[in-house]
């Protein structure tokens, strides 16, 4: 797959992970700065694509805190960036569940017509890229996918991770990752069907 955009996978080349880990464990400011410099963007964009919202600053902060608290449990069996993706994806899963529960409870207390309006807005929601209609549709389509499918599209097609790395992150068999990814892409293509003219044009 040809991608013009840099991915976390590309930026891992030449990392002195051991030094970075030792520095973070010792609480050295320059190591913490380096950790943020290297991984902030990847963690942020994965959160935004998985949650379908740009309002993720607190979440990103919690993810970095979790990563630093768990550094002692990081055994180094996987690369640091794979482990960070794993924590990010799991944290986003929990957040989605929490937001779903919160939304359900808040909708119970709203009038029916307001609820309908919120749902209609969400379909075309594009909090981040309102100016580009195509992006808005893609954003909405991605948001409507099941979380397990969305994770696969994000990790494989957008972040450029290998099947092996995704299997490690999701604790799944590689074959299952491949078959699910196919289903995920099909589901996404289905969601985008009504906007297909934009792509065939």
């Amino acid at each position: 797959m040809q991608t013009e955009e840099p991915t976390a996978v590309e930026s891992r080349a030449g990392l002195a992970e051991a030094e970075l880990l030792a520095g973070c464990r010792a609480g050295k400011p320059e190591a913490l700065n380096e950790l943020v410099r290297r991984y902030h963007t990847a963690v942020l964009r994965v959160c935004v694509s998985l949650l379908g919202s740009r309002d993720v600053d607190d979440l990103v902060q919690d993810i970095f805190i979790k990563i630093l608290r768990r550094l002692d449990t990081f055994a180094g069996r996987a690369a640091l960036f794979t482990w960070m993706y794993e924590i990010t994806v799991n944290h986003c899963r929990d957040e989605l569940r929490r937001r779903k529960r919160k939304r359900w409870f808040s909708l119970q207390s709203l009038p029916a017509e307001t609820v309908e309006k919120i749902k209609a807005d969400e379909v075309l929601a594009s909090e981040h890229l309102e100016t580009e209609e195509l992006h808005a549709h893609l954003h909405a389509a991605l948001k409507q996918l099941e979380p397990k499918y969305r994770e696969l599209i994000v990790l494989r097609d957008l972040e450029g991770l290998s099947y092996e790395e995704i299997a490690q992150i999701q604790k799944l068999d590689e074959k299952l990752v491949k078959s699910r990814l196919y289903q995920a892409r099909q589901a996404l293509a289905e969601k985008m069907k009504k906007y297909a003219e934009a792509f065939y044009a």
């Binding site: 797959m1 955009e5 010792a26 400011p29 943020v36 964009r45 694509s49 893609l138 599209i153 957008l158």
Partner: protein, 160 residues
Amino acid sequence: MRESRQHLEEAALWQWRDGELNEQERRATQSHLDRCAPCRKRVAATERLFTAMRKMHHAVKPTLAEQVQLVRVLEEQFVREELPGILVDASRRLVRWLAPAVAILAALFVLLRQEQTSSTSALANLLPETPESQLLLADSDEQYQQAMWEVALSLEENQK
């Protein structure tokens, strides 16, 4: 058979796109695509879809303010202040000397206590059992007071 009679199957297109076909399958798919405009169109549409998605995804970047805020929060929680080197060395030297010194002082204290007890008992053996000798052997105020009473009584008896 990955190829249907007329057009490529969806799965085959994904595999071709991901470079997962073997050489023979890849050639067959490529050959079909060279001849089939609708399939080429499907491939192009998929490519446009994913290119747009990647652009959208990678347009998300943290602002400088967000980066600074994140670093600040992490530093507050995880940075541990280090003592200057000279202080660290001094404290190490102190610990190295302090531990044996404390041990020696403790041993001296125990020895002196034992010495004191044994000297008192030796004195008791030497002195005769008189009320006056009890005055010399008294360890506490109470015993001293008691001995004084004994001495006073014995004096009184002697006078009688």
